[in-house]
Symmetry: C2
């Protein structure tokens, strides 16, 4: 379940309500594109902005539409008891696994984060993916903490942050992590512009933001990369204008603009206060989609 | 309402439930200590960790116990519609004003934050305090943004982050802000160890973490500082061991440890995953309280 291309769909809003009809169609597209798994309610799925009822509804819709494609559900929240409730909900509606990021308001200590994963895994009956996303959580995992958490029951994968560098350099980092975690725990790369390198460097999976919106285009990188073929690097390099937009405006806003441009969701689809890209930024996204032929 | 010492009470939990009885006693103590206002559900009041029903209950209990002391209620949340609902709740239970921080998960742009304050102030009927707390929100206000937001209806004060430096240096910063905001908008300093300087430098109010737990001790700084008396600096300097603990472990954990040590709340009182200070850290807090004579 934790290998290959895991697609992170948007959770589109319409007048501040989850647009479940559009969401169902997004999931149908991912199933048709034959992604390896669907990670719903990740950062790309705006989980942090949705309340418990909305999250349960989105989780249920994902399972309903995903058919035989494995479903991972993000269960992060600021308070441990909220995470436990969300994990219970996800399991009740049939999620195959949960994704958990150490979301913070007050800065978290290593002990806080260890305690969070201990508390949550103690009552879980599906696998858990550690969701290491320092850009949004403002928490940085140490190798020691990876080692501790990866040894907890149900922890089967870690989604690691983007690592810059050559394949050889990233392989060093991957091996450094593998050396401290149990052998069966999978590693997934994130940061779409770093995915070709990450997979060629030995990651098992790619947790992909754009995979939720442009699954075929991302498969053009994932397929060779998973086969150890350097052609993945060239295809990723071809999409450099996208990665530049990601780094300038954030992957969520760019992906939302792409989905809106392609008519997959109504605009604006993001939860306020997050505003859609406008003006020159939006024009650049449109131009990139057209010039790169990303109709999907 | 936005002058003098504003006390930020903890919201103590007990078995993951708000301990309303203990909370009511905290508010009674603040009223007895004659603080100038009570800012409930601030960062010190763990607002970000509580759900809407809990926050409404805490807001109502604050108003009930505060008597004639003005009550400010924190209404920050990640999604604009959540903020609007919380602000409506706070007004319904009788809050005198609301405090709003631009809480983030995805990094916010200036336009996002301007839009948030525009949306919320458009339907408000009580004053709003802009809650600038970059340590927890990861958002930094520019002077231009202060100017725009301070000109919105209902915006009557800005809680500014701690500024290091001499009174003269901090006065420069205060004057720089005052130069771009309407004359009637008040400025409040935060960061308890910087409060004496901030008040002597011309801030109107002190939004005080420890004021919610040790109101008398904080009044010993606030009273001379508001009268322009440098004795405030000496009293603040005397409490340097506390400010060092704040900077090392964060003001919330240290304040919680003090309140637990003094028997104001049961331990542990913080929402998990936030763990209480233990071992040597806790011993240092206890020693500081005893050596500085902070029985309150």
């Amino acid at each position: 379940m934790f290998t290959g291309l895991s697609a992170f769909p948007l959770t589109p809003l319409r007048d501040d309500q989850v647009d479940l009809a559009a969401y169902g169609r997004l999931i149908d597209r991912l199933v048709a594109a034959d992604v390896d798994s669907i990670s719903a309610l990740g950062s790309t799925g705006s989980y942090a902005y949705l309340d418990r009822a909305e999250r349960r509804e989105v989780a249920a819709a994902t399972v309903e539409h995903a058919g035989r494609v494995p479903v991972l559900i993000g269960v992060g929240a600021l308070r441990t008891s909220q995470v436990r409730a969300l994990a219970a909900d996800a399991q009740e509606v049939g999620a195959d696994a949960v994704l958990l990021a150490p979301v913070s308001y007050q800065a978290l200590t290593e002990d806080d984060v260890a305690g969070l994963y201990e508390d949550v895994t103690a009552e879980l009956s599906v696998p858990l993916v550690v969701y290491d996303n320092p850009g949004t959580t403002h928490f940085t995992f140490t190798l020691d903490l990876y080692a501790h958490i990866a040894s907890l029951p149900h922890v089967e994968a870690i989604k690691i942050p983007p690592t810059a560098g050559s394949v050889a350099e990233v392989r060093e980092r991957v091996q450094e992590i593998r050396a401290v975690i149990p052998e069966q725990v999978r590693l997934g790369i994130s940061g779409d512009g770093f995915a070709a390198t990450g997979l060629l460097a030995g990651c098992d999976a790619w947790f992909s933001v754009l995979g939720g919106t442009l699954p075929h285009a991302m498969a053009e990188i994932a397929r060779p990369a998973l086969a150890g073929d350097d052609a993945a690097l060239a295809e990723s390099e071809r999409l450099a204008p996208l990665w530049e937009l990601f780094s300038e405006f954030g992957s969520l806003r760019v992906t939302a603009a792409i989905a809106e441009h392609l008519g997959q969701v109504d605009a604006p689809c993001l939860p306020r206060p997050l505003l859609r890209l406008t003006g020159a930024a939006r024009d650049r996204v449109r131009a990139a989609v057209e010039e790169l032929g990303l109709r999907d």
